[in-house]
């Protein structure tokens, strides 16, 4: 029983991490129908820049966190300007945007490697004080609780932001139809830019939390989560913010439960991707997605 409880906690936690990564990812897709494959690189740079601020500039993490998040947001603006805006008018912008975002991801990763080296680096010990609780044989750390809470909070705040605020409404209008939004007087380019800003800032924040928890930041750390992030946004329903978090939890739990039930871990990733495959076939719109645009 303890075993299963601990595994559920593990799944809840890693699922929240996937969700955090996926929220920003899905936001851009929801608005532009474009996959931003540089999201993982922004995630990485967010974490590394926060590390630099703490280690080299000697800041407290509480100051470094917002600064690095802002930096990641600015990277998003850069991405939009360089890799997406020039292609927007093109007929094949879906594919070419994919490639230009890959090019940016390669450049970002090269910069990260040039500045920080290829080795894993970590935040200095004691950057945040971590408490470890053992409750009825289940181990939980304060960082884990923090990350789950941040994921939940983000889900609520972002959903409210999109539904209630002026900018949020404009974002939704652009997502529905750029033309219609423009006719209604929405500054489409501004809205797209701010979507990238928010999306990338979220990605950067996720990178910092990831780096803090796992004590290992490296230029290629985005790669292993990129594929899972893709799976998560499909699972949750592309463009859906609560869906990204729920998709993350579902993916995390499926991984953990595979290990718990089979007792071995060989099939962990295979099961997760098979589930993804099955969901695409049975319910292509994902758990919480809008159905219309995905099927022939």
């Amino acid at each position: 029983m303890n075993l299963l409880a601990q595994q559920l906690v593990n799944g809840l936690f890693i699922g929240s991490v996937y969700g955090l990564f996926a929220v920003g990812y899905t936001l851009v897709f929801g608005v532009l129908d474009i996959l931003n494959l540089a999201h993982a690189a922004v995630f990485t740079l967010g974490g590394l820049v926060a590390l630099w601020l703490v280690q080299t500039a000697g800041m407290s993490i509480w100051l470094a966190f917002p600064l690095a998040t802002l930096f990641a947001g600015l990277l998003g603006l850069l991405l939009n300007q360089v890799a997406f805006a020039p292609l927007r008018k093109r007929a094949d912008s879906q594919f070419s945007g994919l490639i230009s975002s890959i090019a940016m991801a390669i450049i970002f990763e090269a910069v990260a490697m040039g500045l920080f080296g290829a080795r894993s680096v970590r935040f200095p010990q004691g950057t945040v004080s971590v408490h470890i609780w053992h409750i009825a044989g289940v181990t939980i750390t304060s960082l884990q609780v923090g990350i789950v809470l941040v994921a939940a909070l983000l889900m609520v705040v972002l959903t409210l932001f999109i539904q209630r605020t002026r900018i949020g409404k404009a974002i939704r209008a652009v997502a529905e139809s750029e033309r219609a939004a423009m006719l209604l007087g929405v500054n489409v380019n501004g809205i797209i830019a701010s979507t990238f800003l928010i999306s990338s800032a979220l990605g950067g924040a996720a990178g910092i939390l990831y780096g803090l928890y796992f004590d290992a930041l490296a230029p290629d750390m985005g790669r292993s989560i990129e594929l899972k992030g893709l799976a998560v946004i499909i699972l949750g329903g592309m463009g859906s913010i609560p869906g990204a978090i729920l998709g993350g939890l579902a993916f995390g739990l499926s991984e953990v439960l595979t290990v718990a039930i089979t007792g071995t871990s060989n099939l962990r990733d295979a099961v997760a991707f098979t589930v993804l495959f099955a969901i695409l076939l049975i319910r292509p719109s994902g758990l919480l997605g809008r159905g219309k645009m995905r099927e022939a």
Binding site: P86, R90, D92, I99, I106, L280
Partner: protein, 291 residues
């Protein structure tokens, strides 16, 4: 002169071989891209073909050509079986479904005994020759060019432009999609078989997610609308590290960055890929093909 050619081949022979194989893989993806379908499963098809051909050679002692055909056939059959359910998905969702399939294939190769696990399938004889690769490439390119002007080709193009309209005109959309997907899978499987017989071994990592993305890069960089576009793209991207090495861009992060930068520049400033350079030189010919 002959001596210099031999020297050139000694240094760049492997690059030339890889260009040929990557060009074949790029063409395999182009079959479906031409119909507006993005598959990220072609790397996995190449893997299936490579493993199948390798196993046929090693365990069944079949001759090279038979093994290659066997590999292509296995990839084609899996493509057919996979294509039937997934091809009703569109755009990114098709890409994701094929991607998930690719991951499952890769994980299977890691876990199975017959594929040699993470260490890969070893002991495959190195018998693929440059001329075999390029003969196959020429044949495939010719086939693709013919295909473009066939009934299937026009059906695929009309499906890319407007699938609903194509269906209304009586084009059997699903049928053509599955045919294109299966042809792509077979070409990929063939390329995978040749790759396996070039390198002494194949490993699960040779056909992962990032390879699948590479195939897309070849197509977009080269241009998807002309049959030689993917070949140009594969040639440039495969040779790029060697070119940068040659002009003295230091190994490591800098070369990686320059690599990314060139990719970005091509995408931004050559909307129809490298092929558009040639199209400008021969405007009439290109117009006829893209019309």
């Amino acid at each position: 002169m002959l001596e210099q050619l031999a020297q050139f081949y000694a240094v760049y022979g492997s690059v030339i071989n890889f260009i040929g194989i990557n060009a074949l893989l790029a063409l395999s993806l182009n079959v479906t891209l031409a119909a507006g379908m993005l598959s990220l499963g072609n790397a996995a098809f190449a893997g299936l073909g490579g493993y199948a051909a390798g196993i046929l050679t090693i365990y069944f002692k079949l001759p090279y050509v038979v093994s290659l055909c066997g590999g292509a056939l296995v990839a084609g059959i899996v493509g057919l079986v996979l294509g039937l359910p997934v091809l009703r998905l569109r755009g990114v969702f098709l890409a994701m479904a094929t991607l998930a399939f690719g991951e499952v294939v890769r994980i299977a190769a890691v876990n199975l005994d017959i594929t040699g696990g993470a260490e890969g399938l070893t002991g495959i004889p190195n018998v693929t020759k440059t001329w075999i690769i390029y003969l196959t490439l020429a044949g495939t390119a010719y086939f693709m060019a013919v295909l473009r002007s066939s009934k299937l080709g026009w059906a695929l193009v009309s499906m890319r432009e407007d699938e609903t309209a194509a269906a209304c005109l009586g084009i059997h959309v699903t049928y053509y999609k599955v045919v294109a997907f299966t042809i792509g899978a077979m070409i990929a499987g063939l390329a995978g078989g040749m790759y396996a017989h070039l390198n002494y071994l194949i490993t699960p990592r040779d056909f992962g997610f990032f390879i699948a993305v590479d195939l897309l890069i070849y197509n977009i960089v080269g241009g998807t609308r002309i049959w030689y576009g993917p070949i140009l793209g594969a040639a440039l991207i495969t040779a790029l590290p060697e070119i940068l090495r040659g002009v003295g861009v230091t190994a490591g992060p800098i070369r990686m960055g320059v690599n990314g930068l060139i990719l970005l520049l091509v995408i931004l400033f050559l909307p129809n890929g490298l092929a558009s350079i040639f199209a400008r030189v021969r405007p009439a010919a290109a117009k006829a093909e893209t019309a």
